[in-house]
Subunit: 204 residues, 2 copies
DNA sequence: AAAAAATTTTACCGTGTGGTAAAAAATACG
DNA sequence: CGTATTTTTTACCACACGGTAAAATTTTTT
């Protein structure tokens, strides 16, 4: 049972998490520096280290934080659910995540590029189970003749890949189109295009 | 007019480029260190710096190198071409690139996560033009009634996203499926699934 | 208001990292 | 072979970076 966090603690730990997310998103756990994070959080380095005792600590906290946010939108599917609605809703939620938490998605991407050393332990089995469930749901849809016979896991990867691409590669997308997901028209256009192609791709 | 590179120069510069690609792929331009690259290349740091005068130099060379490889497989499409064959071939080539040059793809991904500071200058206009051409080809296919009316640029992004995902996120894919693109069966499965979904998604 | 506790600043330290200088060793060439 | 040139090693340097100690300040509690 630990003591209740003070007002200041709550505010400053949040400041560090936010700043850390931005910096780790750009430079990864190795490339980011405490000084950068402290600067962005608007506090001195020793002050920051009063709240998190090491860079690894900040990184773990940021990773857990972003991970929880990410997992929230990976809800399980149901056999009884309608494929079209389920998939549409899933793409919707993931696109919203890419728009509203681009930095979180990038932290995640950096961690995986580094070989997912922390992530592996942090969600290895959980995510595996979640993907397994959804694979089974898709298989049941195929058996029931509701969708075309495809490899379920690759459909899942495909949706992840495309939705995350708009967050992780936003710098490239912006230089090529001049637009971001923050642009309402572009957001709708991207989401609708992807949804349309995938639905046409898997529905019968 | 510069002097011809010696035998040893050719060998060692290649060693550095290869090692640099591996290390930058994992840690990005900021997180990677010269010592790591030197170790992986099997030479001392000062020896390495005899061939490339700074870390930035190595990085630029690696980036240019991987970029050229990547651009090679982004060939332009032709209005007269058959959409089904063109798209199938494109996905094919990109999947092969992800399998054979995963590290190159990851270097690229890291650069874009960092905001593409070098890349912007290195190919800003070239890539824009290339994408523009392909957008125009897709538009002509739509007008000719050969494919469904979709937003061309998002189809292109979708193909990039999915194919690169298998290279960039290979660590995640491996923990989830136990497979890599190096596995022949998995490679074929992934490529066929993606091709099938996208073709069904856009063909009439 | 005074004491206690929490927070912030100042001044550091050891190590890691990018990079250099110059000597030693290896290679190429007449 | 001996000389010129290229390549490699050894020994460094300055600064960035992760982290600590302790004093100074602010906030909370009595």
């Amino acid at each position: 049972m630990q003591k209740k966090r003070s007002r200041i603690q709550i505010i400053n730990q949040q400041k560090v998490l936010d700043a850390g997310t931005e910096v780790f998103a750009k430079y990864g756990s190795r490339g980011a520096t405490i000084d950068q994070i402290a600067d962005m959080a608007g506090m001195s380095k020793p002050n920051l280290l009063y709240y998190f005792s090491s860079k690894k600590d900040i990184y773990r906290a940021v990773l857990e934080h972003t991970l929880n946010k990410w997992l929230l939108c990976l809800m399980e599917w149901e056999e009884a659910g309608d494929p079209k609605e389920t998939i549409t809703g899933y793409i919707d939620t993931k696109f919203e995540f890419s728009r509203d938490h681009a930095a979180a998605s990038q932290v995640f991407a950096n961690e995986i590029l580094e070989g997912a050393p922390i992530l592996k332990g942090l969600l290895g089995e959980d995510l595996k189970r979640l993907v397994g469930e959804n694979v089974r749901v898709i298989e049941s849809w195929i058996r029931a003749g509701k969708i075309k016979p495809i490899e379920p896991v690759h459909l899942i990867f495909m949706i992840w890949a495309v939705t995350q691409h708009y967050a992780d590669f936003s710098a490239q997308i912006e230089t090529l189109t001049g637009k971001t997901l923050k642009d309402e028209v572009f957001f709708r256009q991207a989401k609708d295009s992807v949804t349309q192609i995938i639905l046409n791709g898997v529905l019968k």
